[in-house]
């Protein structure tokens, strides 16, 4: 003990558990790069209105600035004949911007997900060309733009669904696991009954009763999406609530909510976080399947499943099915890689190898010798 007191008082800062998991995750090259690529794809697709749109970003026409991206102008503004919204892909309108001092800054890709190309040179579906990079679908819409927006919709949908499912699952699992007993017993039976409802038929029935929309899908899928996760959280809570640190916290006088929030929950999140990417890929797949069957989003919404259905209907138009398939496989693969890496990062059985990313790794060596340490009792096994 005397040794401990005489050692220099410098406070060593250890990496937080979160930092350690992040460091371990970063060491998994495949998963780490998958995360980076996935995030970039998401950001790029989120910025789609800026670079794949049927309206110019900025128009300078007869000494006036126009911003069609944010404001809808009638055709009359640019010398057209009708008070309808201007179609900037109309050769006539394009021609109007050729005047001296006038210009229009078009996005990289001239089509949005619902732009019908009235002035296409080839019949629909048209093969890839300079105009339509991945061709058009059977209604004359740009496949590239639909893929781009479809990816964004899928990922956003998956994020929302995962978030709702995770929150519901954690709440249900935490309550059952922590309080146990009669509450647990009752809730388990209710969950079993709920889980026995035929999900797909309910979806089909509701899709025919209500106007199909993304919101409806989110609600319907959320109703069932939390069941699996709740079981994992419940098991973790059951395990952790009997740990001595929970007993100690109770002896300290903490309330049940404080114990759940501060002690049990943070130690029970491993399965939740590990499953996040897999849940997302399941959500994407669910949306795609429903759309493919025609039970999903309303017709004009860009969707990967709808594209696949079109590809099936137009087998000779390979430019519809092939890129869609590719995007879908790539997305699911990226998510799976991330999930694998995350699982490895959170697996405490794999030791932190010393000299890792954080300079503080291998701290035990830097521990000030106490009376205990001089005899080495066990060590952190």
């Amino acid at each position: 003990m005397s040794q401990a007191m005489s050692s220099t008082p410098r406070v060593l800062v250890s990496p937080t558990p979160r930092q350690r998991i992040w460091a371990r995750f970063r060491r998994q090259r495949l998963g780490y790069w998958s995360l980076l690529i996935f995030l970039s794809l998401f950001v790029i697709s989120a910025a789609a209105p800026l670079w794949s749109n049927d309206r110019p970003l900025v128009v300078r026409y007869q000494h006036t600035w126009y911003f069609p991206l944010v404001k809808t102008y009638p055709e009359l503004t640019f010398g057209g004949d009708f008070p309808t919204p201007a179609d900037y892909l109309d050769p006539f309108i394009k021609d109007r911007f050729q005047g001296p001092g006038d210009f229009a800054l078009y996005p990289l890709n001239h089509y949005s997900y619902d732009t019908l190309n009235y002035f296409a040179s080839a019949p629909n579906p048209a093969a890839p060309s300079r105009e339509n990079w991945l061709g058009t679908d059977d209604r004359g819409r740009d496949v590239f733009a639909r893929l781009l927006y479809g990816f964004l919709v899928s990922v956003t949908f998956a994020l929302v669904l995962t978030a709702i499912g995770t929150v519901l699952g954690i709440i249900a699992g935490a309550l059952q696991g922590y309080f146990g007993g009669r509450l647990d017993l009752t809730a388990q039976r209710l969950i079993e009954i709920w889980g026995a409802l035929p999900e797909l038929y309910l979806l089909i029935i509701f899709a025919s009763i209500f106007q199909p929309s993304l919101l409806l899908l989110v609600i319907l899928l959320s109703l069932f999406g939390w069941l699996g996760l709740a079981d994992y959280v419940r098991a973790e809570f059951l395990r952790n609530r009997s740990q001595d640190y929970v007993k100690a916290a109770r002896a300290m006088g903490l309330s049940s909510w404080q114990i759940i929030w501060r002690h049990v929950l943070p130690n029970s999140l491993t399965p939740v976080i590990t499953f996040l990417p897999f849940r997302m890929s399941a959500a994407i797949l669910a949306l795609t399947s429903l759309d493919f069957l025609g039970l999903g989003v309303p017709p004009s919404t860009p969707s990967l499943g709808e594209l696949l259905a079109q590809g099936k209907a137009n087998l000779d138009a390979w430019w519809i099915s092939l890129p869609t398939f590719g995007i879908l496989v790539a997305t699911l693969l990226l998510l799976t890689f991330m999930g694998d890496a995350l699982r490895n990062a959170m697996d405490t059985r794999v030791a932190d190898h010393g000299g890792g990313v954080l300079p503080v790794a291998g701290l035990s060596a830097a521990l000030p010798p106490t009376a205990d340490e001089s005899l080495r009792d066990g060590g952190p096994a």
Binding site: K247, A251, G253
Partner: protein, 552 residues
């Protein structure tokens, strides 16, 4: 192979003596490394046939790794040196040849019989499996052998027990069955890795006696040697011919058992030998007030009734029945008993964490259940606990500062961050840790250090009573001594009352003013420690004392 009725000692084993003149087991310059980290460092020893040798050391000294290296069961390890069994180097054998050796020539008994048996097969089935594999016996004779073996290891009704699943046997019976399985193929060498650590004290003596008897029998017939791995020096004195002491992977001392015990050379051996806790207590003042009092407390748990009746009503299982005791200021009351005797349930009831089905627990003369609001909070702060397992008693995701400071922040919300931190640092200093650890996490500390942190967490609330539930049972002997000394110092400094729960009579003898003996939920005897231990009145207390004296 003879058809003798007791095949354990069945003679004529061709393997009996191996190459003439060679020692049964000779380990030469054995080193084991895991990922560049040396766990066993150039150790050498020999074991003659018929000999009993003990490998002694604390956890992390590399003794179990040595045993696993002999069986070549280590994965991802670099093993160098030589391990000769009857002259043949095991490290040069193929994996296939090793498989023929394991269980037949070299058998092992593990620490935890619960996890060493496959829970899905009956114990007889698992013994028969070994016999059919190594001795090429048919199912019928193998089963008869298994029953004989179980009978020999002292299991009652072996003909019925042979079909029991592991969970249907008691801890002691399981370890007996484990020994029967290990001896099934008449091994030349038996490795026993802490065979009694997981068992209750009264059972420990029986198991060691059994091992001793079986070895003596088998040594006559075929020269079976035993390598006993343990941290318990008292066990060694009773059992072994030779002792090798390991410290941090090195063999620091070896020799005949008498020499080691009478004239130890190495300071580490000395330290292990002197790890017996010493009594150093201040007497309790006659005027010291009674802090905590239990009146006929009964703790019960619902139990599922068998069959259809279970659906409607649950039966009641009394973990503690009508226990009465009191703790005075500055006093240590020791609660002693074996696993399942209700010690921990009693502790939970006294802490107010488990509702007493009957009876009441009074703190300062007022039932715990009558405290409300702020008073109830104050009681909480005054009643603190330290638990057995230092690995699960600290929340792994919090820093030490947060763990120790959490209770303070809860009970004294008026304190600002700097005062809070100063208090945490002060209490850490009390338990022998310094401020450099504030921002670190529990996993970076050893068992003894974690236990100190757990004590600091309890101490920071300035309690009057601390319930210590086996606070040193998971620690090595020398660390145990330090923690006990710390607890005694803290008691004297702060005039604390302890309720000290332990299965270890030596610890109770050193720490407690008064002792309470529990068996099957009942308090069978209580009184001043010296009196109870010197002149026990209840037969169970006598049995406990006898088992503990066996270790002396």
């Amino acid at each position: 192979m003879t058809q003798s009725s007791l095949d354990l000692s069945g003679g004529g084993n061709i393997n009996a003596n191996g190459a003439a003149g060679a020692a049964l087991l000779s380990v030469e310059d054995l080193s084991v490394q895991f990922a560049g980290h040396t766990v066993v460092d150039r150790i050498s020893f020999t074991l003659e046939s018929g000999e009993r040798m003990a490998l002694v050391g604390e956890s992390g000294s590399g003794k179990s790794v040595t045993a696993l290296a002999i069986l070549r069961l280590l994965e991802q390890a670099r093993v160098s040196g030589a391990i000769r069994l009857g002259g043949e180097d095991l490290l040069r054998k193929s994996e296939r040849a090793m498989r023929g050796l394991r269980g037949a020539d070299v058998a092992m008994i593990f620490q935890e019989p619960t996890s060493a048996f496959n829970p899905l097969y009956s114990v007889g089935n698992q013994i028969v499996e070994t016999l059919m594999l190594h001795e090429a016996l048919d199912a019928g004779p193998a089963r008869r052998r298994a029953i004989e073996l179980l009978d020999r290891t002292g299991i009652a009704e072996p003909g019925r027990r042979v079909d029991s699943l592991p969970h249907q046997l008691s801890g002691g019976q399981r370890q007996r069955a484990m020994i029967a399985m290990a001896l099934a193929c008449r091994p030349r060498l038996l490795l026993a890795d802490e065979p009694t650590t997981a068992l209750d004290v009264t059972i420990r003596a029986q198991i060691i006696d059994l091992l001793l008897e079986l070895q003596q029998e088998a040594a006559k017939e075929r020269g079976m040697g035993v390598l006993l791995i343990t941290h318990d020096l008292n066990l060694v004195r009773r059992f072994a011919h030779k002792v090798a002491v390991m410290e941090r992977g090195r063999l620091v001392e070896r020799g005949p058992v008498e020499t080691i015990f009478t004239a130890p050379q190495h300071p580490y051996t000395l330290k292990l030998l002197n790890a017996q806790p010493q009594r150093d207590l201040l007497p309790v003042l006659p005027i010291a007030p009674v802090l905590l009092q239990a009146h006929a407390v009964t703790v019960s748990y619902p139990m599922r009734r068998p069959g259809l009746a279970g659906l409607f009503r649950s039966a009641r299982f009394d973990a503690v029945s009508a226990a009465s005791l009191s703790v005075r200021q500055g006093e240590t009351v020791g609660v002693v008993g074996e696993s399942g005797s209700g010690k921990s349930s009693l502790a939970m009831a006294l802490l107010g964490l488990q509702r007493a089905a009957e009876g009441s627990v009074e703190f300062h003369g007022r039932p715990l259940t009558h405290y409300r609001g702020r008073d109830s909070r104050r009681v909480r702060a005054n009643l603190q606990a330290v638990f057995q397992d230092p690995y699960s008693s600290l929340s792994p995701r919090h820093t030490i500062e947060r763990i120790v400071g959490e209770g303070l922040a809860l009970h004294h919300p008026e304190l600002d961050a700097t005062v809070l931190r100063d208090k945490v640092i002060a209490v850490l200093r009390e338990v022998g840790l310094d401020r450099t650890i504030l921002q670190r996490y529990p996993h970076e500390f050893s068992g003894g250090q974690r236990q100190r942190i757990a004590i600091a967490r309890a101490l920071v609330l300035e309690p009057q009573i601390m319930v210590l539930d086996e606070p040193t049972s998971a620690l090595d002997v020398s660390i145990q001594l330090q923690v006990l000394k710390l607890l005694a110092q803290l008691q004297q400094k702060f005039n604390l009352a302890y309720l000290f729960i332990s299965h270890d009579l030596d610890v109770i003898r050193a720490m407690a003013h008064r002792v309470v003996v529990m068996q099957d939920g009942h308090i069978v005897e209580q009184g001043a420690t010296e009196v109870v231990l010197a002149t026990p009145s209840h037969p169970y207390t006598r049995q406990l004392i006898k088992a503990s004296l066996f270790h002396q």
